[in-house]
Symmetry: C2
Subunit: 373 residues, 2 copies
């Protein structure tokens, strides 16, 4: 249902400044650990144990927690606090930060559990991965068996459905004033609808030969980018940002989320299997449309003829296919498109105060397209 | 994931007064039509069309809409209005009905869309049926192919996931004050978690020989009854009933919901396939635990040996198995248990004003265990 993640390592960096890259890697790593702690606390292995073990299976297998990290950084940038200086579980709101801005006295001293909101987003992501792996019958994810392979189909469907409900429970549990909770819940529900629609479009594309690049970008907006948009929007809503800022934040998520998906499609072609945590070239084998293959088709490449029998594709065939796509300029085209999206997304952050957390969000946008896995 | 429904017709009524039975049948039928209209309006076949057609597949195939009918009747009984005299889409709250009770002036003139809340509950029910049929690989539901048979596995998973999100969208769209929306959403999310846990327990029971009747009753409370509880609780929450009344309403749902599930298990053994909308004896064939088989086992019946090869079970074998269960007193035991639950559930309605809608809710409880399909 959404983009894969897995493995470790990096490759293929560009000419960015090494210091920036280190700063964002460190910013992600330290927040990721806090997110992991929150997930462990909020999603204990309760009864029925098998169901909850299956629900935790992919969360325990790793993942970079990029979406919740976006949420945490947005909160810090918005309220303009020193990074990591505030307790994410009792985060000051904008009302408290600037009393003059507040029209509702009741929220002045409210503290928001932005960590639980961030965890909610990650739990949605994990639910979509579990159901996605069933739909694609992928047997590996993050280097471990997918949930329906490790457990069974019934348990995997139910584990996804359980996480789905838990995400809503979490989002109801941030301590935000009711109006803001309702707005956050509404964003979450609409995001889930959009993800399903995007995934259905993606599946439908596989049997169509006339998909355009514009249709593809619309599809990945729904399938992938809306969850980044929710990750950036929700803290804005909960902390009391104005409507314009909230829309700018959502726009950042939509732009960098699409860039992330395009990068993911590229990695599927170029990254080694041990870094992907799954087989390289799986999209090509499954006949999935990507910006790369859509561009290549427009250049006259017989995309459907790139590989032989899908049941017996060799790595050598994948290499040859990638060479053809590269020669057609399609890999460069996809890289360029993701670069443009990242630039636009970074521009949207002008709506935030100029501070260190905002700088990290800009770098995180770069990271999404420079990451090697 | 939850109890089956399907087909038409009736059988096996008891000695109840014929007039009461007609009154509740009429009360259900007229509200069911209104629920159908609301579902058609609120769940149009949008893009991607195939996804939304699949999402509507079981809703379009029928169903008695018992849960939303409970919600509508609870609203009428609570606010003490003449049945069908008020617009369900703009229902008066208890605050408006009794200004003296209101502590919050802002909700005095609020009107609540209880119909959309009722539709939300039915949409959750439909999502669980779609995923349930995948898990059991049932090919028929309500007399039509199940969604994964009519469409495919991918589409069925996504159709269920889409309805899941839509149910939350609906529940956010009742026009209720934010505090009450949050409480309704919280009930809905916790209900979904419980349904998943109940379904996981049900699946787990199939491989256990030592399940007790008490465990079974706990399982069906989670798998089935919690959604009846939500149907009765949510209008109480949205319309501003006090906590004690809300708990009594939820208790009614838990009692009659369990009675409904026990009746459903009985019907699986006794009702003709054309009324069930699926094969008779399917629970026996699939090795599902029910109150009937658990009781029979306690009476020394070799339940697992009642049928031969699961792939080649004849109707004659089912008949013989049912006779054995009947002879052990197990069918009578299950009937009696459901009868006790219904009586207790009816008693909980004392928390409501004494009016016609309350009388219908009492009769509806009877109907749940007397229905022939």
């Amino acid at each position: 249902m959404s983009a894969g993640e897995g493995g470790n390592g990096s490759e293929d960096g560009d000419e960015r400044d090494g210091g920036e890259s280190e700063a964002v890697a460190e910013a992600i790593a330290v927040r990721r650990e806090l997110v992991d702690e929150a997930l462990a606390t909020r999603l204990p292995v309760a009864e029925p144990e098998r169901l909850y073990r299956a629900s935790r299976h992919l969360l325990d297998a790793g993942g970079k927690r990029l979406r919740p990290v976006v949420a945490l950084l947005v909160a810090e940038a918005l309220v303009d606090v020193e990074p990591l200086s505030e307790d994410y579980r009792a985060f000051p709101t904008l009302d408290a930060a600037d009393d003059a801005r507040s029209e509702d006295a009741s929220v002045d001293d409210t503290r928001i559990d932005v960590m639980t909101a961030a965890a909610s987003i990650e739990v949605i992501q994990s639910f979509t991965l579990i159901h996605d792996d069933i739909m694609d019958d992928d047997d590996l994810r993050r280097g471990v068996p997918s949930v329906h392979h490790e457990y069974d189909l019934e348990t995997a469907i139910l584990a996804g459905d359980t996480l789905y409900a838990k995400a809503f429970e979490f989002m109801l549990d941030t301590g935000a004033p009711a109006e803001r909770s309702v707005a956050a819940l509404s964003a979450l529900a609409r995001t889930c609808t959009a993800i399903c629609e995007g995934q259905a479009l993606d599946v439908g594309f596989e049997s169509r030969g006339d998909v355009t690049a514009a249709e593809y970008l619309g599809m990945i907006e729904q399938k992938t980018a809306v969850l980044y948009a929710a990750a950036a929007r929700v803290p804005g809503v909960l902390l009391g940002a104005d409507a314009e800022t909230v829309e700018a934040l959502a726009g950042y998520g939509l732009d960098v989320g699409r860039a992330f998906q395009i990068r993911d499609d590229l990695l599927d072609l170029t990254a080694p299997a041990e870094r992907l945590g799954k087989r390289r070239g799986s999209d090509l084998i499954e006949g999935k449309r990507t910006l790369v293959t859509l561009h290549a088709r427009e250049q006259g490449v017989d995309v459907d003829g790139l590989l032989g029998d899908p049941g017996a594709v060799t790595d050598r065939e994948i290499d040859a296919a990638v060479e053809r796509l590269d020669a057609a300029g399609s890999i460069a085209y996809a890289r360029e498109t993701s670069r443009e999206l990242v630039e636009r997304g970074k521009g949207r952050l002008d709506a935030l105060p100029d501070n260190e957390a905002r700088a990290r969000l800009r770098e995180l946008a770069e990271y999404l397209i420079d990451r090697g896995y």
